[in-house]
């Protein structure tokens, strides 16, 4: 089942001044349960592609369908609601809410979804157990290591029961041990729970674990390798 379908995506920044063409006609389909890495050198358009398929940015031309729905036609508020219910984000800098505990951070998206308290509690605890930091659930981000914060971020991304997880350079700020632990955890979730992960990365350790590697150069897909 196709979860994401991008057709002929182009993105041009500063079209009226000095145009920068970040994407030049990208076609990409991601199937349910894939563990995909989008790779390429800096400026190749990885993050732009991730932002557009995540509904954070709009393409200059082309279409993005998520679960069969064309998200490029949605209004700003519809896009916010769409992201909340369908997409889980994991950012390079973790981006947890500093004044909330690990558990509260995981709960937060469910609060936005107006889920009942009992359900939020149960799911947050189970997700934090799944990412291996149940014992740290009452700690605030400043009391956690980078690796632990990124695990909380993964749990938060999963909290809304999204169609897929988008992770932008998730290991960029982690040491080798934390990176290995995080990748093990995500690979297990992918395998056992069939959760779809899409990474943008130039970290070879992530690329080595991916089962599909899409390579972008100058805004175009130059290779799409399934392993």
């Amino acid at each position: 089942m196709t979860v994401i379908k991008a057709s002929n995506l182009t993105k041009t920044y500063n079209p009226d001044k000095i145009p920068v063409r970040a994407l030049r006609g990208v076609d990409l389909a991601i199937e349910k349960g894939e563990f995909t890495a989008i790779v390429g050198p800096s400026g190749s358009g990885k993050t732009t592609l991730l932002n557009i398929i995540g509904g954070l940015d709009r393409p200059t031309a082309g279409e993005v369908e998520v679960g069969g729905k064309d998200i490029s036609q949605l209004s700003d508020n519809q896009l916010i609601d769409f992201r909340k219910d369908n997409i889980g984000f994991v950012f390079q800098s973790y981006n947890l809410i500093p004044v909330l505990t690990a558990k509260e951070n995981v709960e937060f998206v469910m609060v936005l979804q107006n889920r009942p308290k009992a359900e939020r509690d149960k799911r947050a605890e189970s997700l934090l157990t799944a990412v291996g930091i149940a014992e740290k659930m009452d700690k605030r981000p400043s009391e956690l290591s980078g690796g632990q914060q990124q695990r909380v971020a993964v749990a938060r991304a999963l909290a809304s029961k999204p169609a897929f997880i988008l992770a932008d350079e998730p290991t960029a700020n982690l040491d080798s041990e934390s990176t290995a632990g995080l990748l093990d955890m995500m690979a297990t979730m992918n395998k056992e729970e069939n959760i779809t992960f899409v990474f943008s990365t130039h970290d070879q350790r992530v690329i080595d674990r991916a089962r599909r590697v899409v390579t972008l150069v100058d805004g175009k897909i130059v290779s799409d390798e399934r392993r």
Binding site: L56, D57, I80, F91, P98
Partner: protein, 408 residues
Amino acid sequence: MILQLAWRNIWRNKRRTLITISAIAFAVFLASFMRSFQKGIWDSVIDGAVNQFYGYAQVHADGYWDDQTIDNSMELDAQLNALPQSVDLVADVVPRIESFALASSGDLTSGVFVLGIDPVKENAMTQIADKIIAGSYLTPTDEAVVVASGVAKKLGLALNDTIILISQGYHGVNAAGKYPIKGIFEFGIPDLNKRLLLLPIKAAETFYGAEGRATTLILKINDRNDVPMAIAATTQQLPNEKYEVLEWQELMPELVEARLLDEAGGYIIIGILYLLITFAIFGTILMMTKERSYEFGVLTAIGMRRRKLFGVIWLETIIVAMLGAIVGILMSIPIVYYLHINPIPAAAMGADAAEAFEKFGISGDLPTAFDKSTFFIQALIIFLITSLLAIYPWTTIMNLKPIEAMRG
């Protein structure tokens, strides 16, 4: 969780939050105190004028106040005399005949303001007997007068001297009489002290040929707050076409204007104070908004609607502002209340100020007004300022693009 998030965000920068709260608290304290003090002085001035002379409300024959002649007097009938029984909030009624006469003593003459009074009721309201500086006060059956010290001085009068009064009485009759000076009093309102003369109402009726009549009936109302209700009830009791019932503001418009003018000065000072506070609050809001734009980007990226995000920021600023307002009010209440119960002596403001207050009938003490609305209004002003300043985070958040915000 939204309230919890707002509350914890407030304390992310404790020092800044405490400085903002302190600044607001200080402004609210100063504004509450200044307003209570100014209001207290003016309440004293009005009470002084009311208790010394005018009363909180007066009943006249319809049209008397616009054309104050004895021909526009009213019959002091049973309905008027029964007002204390028919209107709960009216404790008593005090009748007067107010008119003018030419006064003469020896070679000297002067116009005087003649006040025919019920000596017992008048004294119960104005404590005029306490102001006698020579001789003694009137009794209801006296055929004598007491004069203000200014009149005595102008006409060279001493106790037991005779004063001759000539005037025009009711329906044009000639009014003439001679009366011994029974007493001399010092009146608090300077203008009246130069021309006021009191005689018992019975003697005044005879003098003006106006038996059983009065120009003025003062309604004695014990609590200032009851005045509007007492007037409404009195108006309902009396036929509109026959009588007019006037409140103290209509009786002393110049005092009301003087108060408005003085209070306008106070409002300007308080306005400047709040303008400074507006900048302090805006500084905090500006920093809170600027330094968290990355976080705002993340929150909208993960699915928080902009309106909800703005709600959190608005809640944070309102909580800080209201904490400041509450602290300021809590600081001012005990001081304002203490000075309400233990007024500052006018003498403490300097001899000139004390003399000026005395002229307006303030007995020497300056109590602050302890009025709940004064404190409530300060909190409301702070709430409105903060809500107005929230336009800045509103426009920032509504125009937020998550990608740009997260790029910094």
